[in-house]
């Protein structure tokens, strides 16, 4: 299969497009080198700078963290597709008017992220979820652009440009420019048979068959936000990868009555936006809303976050506090393990090369509150130095349920059982909180690394505990 190319079909800037390319190419390479659309830029190749942002199925994504074949069936808009009959998009106009452009290398990606933000805002307004004419707040703008680094402008005039475009879109009564519009012609071409067999399994069985046949020589790829970074560092060849995003069995957030089930392919952004999860897993929703920037949240999956087995993974501590179980499958077999037994160390889990995570599930608890707090090196796109999730049911002054889990202070995410029992066994008072704050420092086993120090991390556990407890229940 060394030199074999594959056909991939997608809708690109409103046109049905079929491209034949080497399966080791990323979407960014396909755009730039096969289609000569060089507006998307490569600043890092690791999903950090956002210069390669495109809009895929209505959401901004980093095209450097998507394998070319993952675009199969997708609707993609690049900076080149923003012009409409030669006219600039109002946001492009606004970038010029506001002086938001300097060296320009980040600008195509920044504009794509901005267009997605304005689209989302427009769609919400149309759906009545957002009251007109309330404008995007500065915080919303910053959050929407947090996945795009700019080193020239200090972002100030970029914020101005977003606001100006928003006003113009409103004034002109232009329904926010809908990137989905360009996708009106559904890509319904049949998937290339070779591509399907090697890179694009469409069912769980097809994916598990690949793993059963090749074991560790192949690796499942979903969001790609970790695995493609490792591939770029040469840890394994991109040809080993295959995409499991299209497998419907891995998707969905399902209310099973007494339990909730989340497919492993559910993305952080979906979690963050889910009303159902907000009701039953607030800690998880809060954590997923803090991961990366928009582009990373729109790609990274819950299953991927587990499989990557980082002790700093933000989605994991909340799952500990929900006492989630991990639903693992291989060809002809399946097993369910409590999440605390899933991880074995940094980058290590019990997942076998022939297995996939199908989903995660946890019991619904009435009146469950949840919170997630973390400290990072900056406000967005930060890997946690230390994180703490809490889920709790408080009745009167007593906790009926309380689970706390710490991230980035041990080889895996850990629960804080001593601290929990102090809080569970006594009334919720300032004194209990003080005792708990002391206890949690003893439960953390942090190390020194690039992001922080052992001592700092240990002490911050108690600061985060106070914040989490106050967020869960209000002050004692």
């Amino acid at each position: 299969m060394k030199d074999e190319k594959i056909d991939v079909h997608f809708i690109l800037n409103g046109r049905d497009t079929t491209v034949r390319f080497d399966p080791s190419l990323r979407l960014l390479d396909v755009l730039r080198e096969e289609l000569f659309l060089t507006g998307s830029k490569e600043g890092c190749g690791k999903g950090e700078c956002g210069a390669c942002s495109v809009i895929m199925n209505g959401q901004p994504v980093d095209s450097c963290l998507i394998m070319g074949y993952q675009a199969e069936g997708a609707t993609i808009t690049t900076i080149e597709g923003l012009l409409s009959d030669g006219e600039l998009h109002p946001l492009q106009e606004a970038f010029i008017d506001c002086g938001a452009v300097q060296c320009g290398i980040c600008i195509p990606g920044m504009i794509m992220a901005g267009v997605a933000l304005l689209d989302e805002r427009g769609q919400k307004a149309t759906a009545g979820l957002r009251s007109e004419p309330a404008e995007l707040s500065l915080e919303e703008i910053k959050y929407g652009l947090a996945g795009n680094l700019c080193r020239c402008t200090g972002y100030v005039k970029i914020f101005d440009a977003i606001r100006q475009a928003e006003r113009r879109l409103q004034a002109d009564q232009v329904a926010a420019w809908d990137s989905g519009r360009l996708g009106a012609a559904q890509a319904n071409a049949t998937i290339d048979a070779a591509a399907r067999e090697r890179y694009l399994p469409q069912t769980l069985d097809e994916a598990l068959t690949i793993l059963a046949q090749h074991g560790a020589a192949r690796r499942a790829l979903a969001g790609g936000t970790d695995i493609l970074v490792k591939a770029k560092d040469g840890l394994f060849p991109t040809r080993a990868l295959f995409d499991i995003s299209a497998i419907s069995e891995l998707h969905g957030i399902v209310d099973q009555g007494d339990r909730l089930w989340i497919g492993s392919g559910v993305r952080h952004g979906e979690v963050a936006r889910s009303e159902l999860l907000r009701l039953h897993a607030l800690a998880l929703v809060s954590a997923c809303a803090l991961i990366g920037g928009p582009q990373i949240r729109n790609r990274g999956t819950l299953g991927g976050n587990l499989a990557n087995a980082s002790p700093a993974a933000d989605s994991v501590p909340p799952l500990y506090t929900l006492e989630a179980t991990v639903d693992i499958v291989s060809l002809g077999a399946q097993r369910t393990v409590p999440i605390e037994q899933f991880f074995r160390g940094p980058g290590k889990s019990i997942l076998q090369p022939t297995e996939l995570i199908r989903g995660i599930s946890f019991a619904k608890r009435p009146n469950l509150k949840g919170a997630f707090m973390r400290l990072g090196q900056r406000q967005a796109q930060a890997i946690s130095k230390v994180s703490l999730a809490g889920s709790a049911v408080l009745e009167g002054r007593r906790f009926r349920y309380l689970r706390l889990a710490l991230g980035a202070v041990a080889p895996t995410v850990i629960r804080a059982p001593q601290t929990e029992s102090i809080l569970l066994n006594d009334d919720w008072t300032p004194k209990t909180l003080r005792a708990a704050c002391q206890a949690i420092k003893q439960e953390a086993k942090p190390i020194d690394d690039l992001r922080s120090t052992r001592e700092y991390r240990r002490e911050m556990c108690s600061v985060l505990l106070e914040r989490v407890m106050v967020a869960l229940t209000g002050p004692p």
Binding site: T38, V101, Q379
Partner: protein, 729 residues
């Protein structure tokens, strides 16, 4: 004036928002080969054996080269002849190039690099600034001997003495370095690339290939950020690709990965400053005694010049009658440090401004008062004994920023709110910046411009300085239109091409508006002068003016040449009129410090600048906002982690720069004290915005939590540690 001073739109913005602007990686030529560089894994080692025979034979590989294949001199020509393009016998830092490969495919190049056989004998490295200073591994030394320092300290009411440390800073331009070289078919070579200084690149390529300057043509592509990082450093990849192109007869492209870029390309020098200041009881700065040491890395590159600018501004923008300063750049076995916005000033200004705050504190004065007491004014002398004849807007800048910030009220109210977890503080710092290269770089100082008015009234400018995002194209088009009397829309600024204009020096030192602006203006004045007799008494639209002149055979093209006023310098005393003029700046910064976590949140930056004359307020504000945020990164988060001489945070996930969510409110303030020799009175603005941010931040932290940091960045860990030590007594 109709056009100068207006918020004209950037002519380069349209292509940039459409994604059609062409950066080097967007350029494709048929038959282009990929270049690969074999880099040293050692900080310091002898090369015992280097064999490319096997690599040369590999499929898809056209050539594999070492230093032996260099036809000219294996030296990057700059200040000192110490840096080879490819290491020959010894490697001196991790990532130093030792061999080159060109091949048809990326994978082939990777495989060939792996097939090059190298044997090293590791040698003991010197890895820290302190070690290098102790061993006197000095690559440059400058001094100031001014007044009678001993006597001044003897009569001082107070003496403040401290030691300061500042970190590496990465430029973190979003476009990595890249070059594409091709043989020109006439025995020469043409190189396109991302760069600030085409003429540096030209000299390097010519010298390494043994070609005449007229055989080496350098064209700047649209460049995705520089900040000093693309001043001299691009000469190395340019020469590498040029050598490969000449040897293979094919176009050769080299685009850096982010990791390679951060590992080997230049960065801001880590600094160590021992600073003693003497003040009178009235808060008058009497004298400074300073030791300023920069970690230059393995090769001198621009370190002597960076150090020189630092020492010339060692006391900050204040009168300082007595000074004894020694500045050293020392040699370590790490990647060379070089130019970075501010160019040796941010390090020493962090120390100098902290000293000012400490003196104020000791004397019971307001940080504002002590600065106003000492601020340079017209007819005052700088630390180099330069008597300032005019264009000194420092006091107005300081007054404007403190007024905008409501300094006194906030200073008072924040002082009373020092309980609870989140505590607020406000800080002030000022700086000045000698515009242009000064007497040390005087041979590079002139700039040229060719201006061509075509028969349809369109105007073409060719200049030798570069657009790197700062707004040069816009500003020069405004100056040309203003001077010619044409609409700005008629003016097109060509990409810099060394074959089209005289060597105009580098695009650095906040000199571009001043130098290229004057050259453009001179050429336009000449053309206007030739047009004038025909237009006497007529009021015609521009296009008709041009038509009339063309019909009358008027020569509508001219070359402008700007040579700056004389500067002086005495290396024994460090005294002289070292720069032609100075820009002045002050920042007020507001912070919220979380005493539990040590997190410092900067909420507002009021950033004021005397720029002489602002040619375009929008691009001017852009420089201020961007510089302020880059300065904020320097103050709060940015630093390189180095283990055994290896930079371990060499990507954007680990080298942290501010995101949109880290951006405070930034209030740019522009003050205009016109500079007589400047085009329409303009001085320079590129660098002042970054210089005095860090000391304003640390000054604000002092008010918030009563803690003075002598080392930046003010990371939560560092602030929290210091708070704990303070509480422990």
């Amino acid at each position: 004036m109709n056009i100068v001073g207006q918020r004209a739109r950037r002519p380069d913005a349209l292509d940039k928002v459409k994604g059609t602007a062409r950066y080097i990686d967007d350029m494709a030529l048929a038959g282009t080969l990929y270049a690969g560089v074999l880099r040293s894994p050692h900080t310091h080692a002898r090369i015992l054996r280097l064999d490319t025979a096997r690599a040369r034979q590999m499929p898809g590989i056209l050539t594999a080269l070492t230093a032996k294949d260099i036809p000219g001199k294996n030296i990057i020509p700059l200040i000192q002849p110490d840096q080879p393009m490819l290491a020959e016998t010894e490697v001196n830092h991790i990532g130093e190039g030792i061999a080159l490969v060109a091949g048809e495919y990326r994978v082939a190049v990777e495989a060939a690099l792996a097939a090059i056989e190298v044997e090293y004998e590791p040698l003991p490295p010197v890895l820290t600034l302190e070690e290098a200073y102790e061993q006197q591994r000095i690559m440059a030394h400058w001094k100031i001997r001014r007044g009678d320092v001993k006597a001044a300290f003897a009569q001082a009411a107070i003496v403040i003495e401290n030691s300061y440390h500042t970190p590496y800073q990465e430029h973190a331009y979003i476009e990595p370095n890249g070059m594409l070289a091709q043989p020109d078919g006439m025995g020469g070579v043409t190189v396109h690339g991302s760069m600030q200084c085409p003429f540096y690149v030209q000299k390097a390529v010519a010298s390494i290939l043994g070609l005449g300057l007229n055989q080496v043509r350098i064209i700047q592509m649209v460049t995705g950020g520089g900040f000093g990082g693309k001043e001299d450093a691009p000469s190395v990849p340019a020469a590498m690709t040029a050598l490969l192109a000449v040897k293979t007869g094919r176009p050769v492209k080299l685009i850096f990965t982010r990791e390679d870029d951060m590992t080997v390309m230049s960065k801001r020098h880590p600094g160590w400053i021992k600073y003693r200041s003497a003040f009178t009881q009235a808060g008058e700065l009497l004298a400074v005694e300073v030791l300023y040491v920069l970690d230059g890395g393995a090769y001198a590159t621009l370190s002597p010049a960076v150090l020189w600018r630092g020492i010339n501004h060692a006391a900050g923008p204040y009168r300082c009658p007595h000074a004894h300063v020694d500045a050293y750049a020392v040699r370590t076995h790490k990647a060379p440090c070089g130019a970075f916005r501010g160019f040796g000033e941010p390090q020493i200004v962090f120390a100098a401004e902290s000293q000012m705050d400490l003196a104020a504190e000791k004397l019971g004065m307001d940080p504002l008062e002590i600065r106003l007491n000492n601020a340079l004014e017209v007819n005052d002398e700088t630390i180099t004994g330069h008597r300032l004849a005019g264009s000194v807007g420092l006091k107005e800048v300081i007054r404007k920023v403190v007024t905008a910030a409501d300094w006194s009220a906030k200073r008072q109210s924040y002082a009373q709110s020092c309980a609870g977890s989140v505590r607020r503080g406000i800080g002030l710092a000022a700086c000045y910046y000698g515009v242009g290269l000064g007497s040390l770089g005087r041979f590079l100082n002139p700039a040229g411009a060719n201006v061509l008015v075509s028969g349809d009234g369109s105007v073409t400018l060719a200049v030798g300085t570069t657009e790197i995002g700062q707004g040069m194209v816009t500003v020069l088009a405004q100056i040309a239109a203003e001077t010619l009397g044409s609409p700005m829309e008629c003016v097109r600024v060509l990409p810099p091409d060394t074959s089209q204009v005289p060597d105009s020096g580098p695009t650095v030192a906040s000199r571009t508006t001043l130098m290229s602006g004057n050259a453009v203006r001179a050429a336009c004045l000449e053309i206007r002068g030739r047009m004038k007799p025909l237009l006497e008494g007529k009021s015609l639209p521009w296009a008709d003016q041009v038509r009339l002149c063309v019909e009358n055979q008027v020569h509508l093209a001219a070359q402008g040449w700007a040579t700056p006023p004389k500067t002086t310098y005495d290396p024994e005393t460090g005294q002289g009129e070292v720069y032609i003029t100075y820009s002045f700046s002050a920042n007020v910064v507001e912070v919220e410090v979380n005493a539990d976590t040590g997190e410092v949140l900067v909420t507002r930056i009021y950033s004021g600048h005397d720029v002489g004359k602002v040619i375009n307020p929008t691009t001017g504000e852009g420089q201020i906002e961007g510089g302020a945020l880059q300065g904020l990164g320097y103050a709060l988060v940015e630093e390189h982690a180095v283990q055994n001489g290896r930079i371990i945070n060499n990507q954007f996930s680990t080298y942290i720069i501010p995101t949109a969510m880290d951006t405070p409110e930034i209030m740019p303030i522009i003050v205009e004290h016109e500079y007589a020799w400047g085009p329409y009175g303009a001085k320079g603005l590129g660098e002042t915005p970054i210089i005095a941010v860090a000391p304003a931040v640390t000054g604000a932290i002092v008010q918030a939590v009563g803690l003075r940091l002598f080392e930046i960045p003010a990371t939560p860990e560092r602030v929290w540690q210091a708070l704990r030590r303070k509480e422990a007594g």
